[in-house]
Amino acid sequence: MSSRTSTVAHQFDDAEQQRNASTLGIWVFLVTEIMMFGGLFTAYVLYRSSYPEAFAAASHHLNATLGAANTIVLLSSSLSMALAVRASQVGSRWGTVAGLVVTIVLGCIFLGVKGYEYASKFEENLVPGPFFDLPGAEPQSELFFSLYFAMTGLHAVHMVIGVGVLATLVVMALRRRFDADYHNPVEIGGLYWHFVDIVWIYLFPLLYLLGRH
């Protein structure tokens, strides 16, 4: 009932059971995330193998430098997240808060860069739909940009949710809700964040780098 006396929820017998349940819970949830992105990856594999030239040509209109830079930003955020989890495990409150804040800032930088890329696609008329205009390209290039926006868009939505989760964790950490014995939520949030990072690890080469040679 009250979290003041105990951090173990009433349905659990002890802290270990609670910990096992939440760890398994987030991993099962991540499986559902794999399958959700999986639908888009299936579409990608099918169309990429059907129209390799059109996709390679369209991919040249993405900014590989920004994509690579954003990859580094996201990897850095995974590092700071791992450091935050580590700090929470050793019971360092300020270490946890610092790691989480750095992660949030890096996440926002990533989203900012992404927003800039989206904006330039709008200016270049590369957004699929009635205004799509890529002179001299095959019609399938619009398919590429549909997938580009769907995949990176879904990823960005996950980033926004992640930033919200981490912000909640910062508030909880400041309210002294965590210590060396109880820091489950930080670990759970970390696992989610790393998963979102992994999705990008695949998106970057598949979308930005194919057919560069």
């Binding site: 299936t42 850095s76 992994i198």
Partner: protein, 99 residues
């Protein structure tokens, strides 16, 4: 119960390895490997993903059940892609339009 703690050194080393692999995947993309560019890119990405899973997500301390859960997700994703592609790639074989 003190859980397993990863040292800062390991975390930083892994981070730099990940950055290095990112550089590698960019470099490789500009080399002409024929039909091997895509598999190599996916292989490097998978290596990076495994590093994140094993070190950052602490799966080297993970229980078999957790590994099993994650692996089943990947397995069913491959199933979805594989069987869809099996259809797409065998469509022309019969020589009958639309089959």
């Amino acid at each position: 119960m003190a859980s397993h703690v990863t040292s800062r050194l390991v975390l930083f080393v892994i981070f730099f390895v990940l950055v290095g692999l990112t550089a590698l995947t960019v470099w490789v993309a500009y080399q002409d490997l024929g039909s091997w560019n895509a598999p190599v890119a996916v292989a490097i990405a998978t290596l990076k993903a495994m590093l994140v899973i094993v070190i950052f997500m602490e799966m080297r301390f993970g229980q078999p059940l957790t590994w099993f859960a994650g692996a089943s997700g990947v397995l069913f994703l491959l199933l979805l892609i594989g069987m869809t592609m099996a259809d797409a790639m065998s469509r022309g074989w019969l020589g009958v339009p639309g089959k």
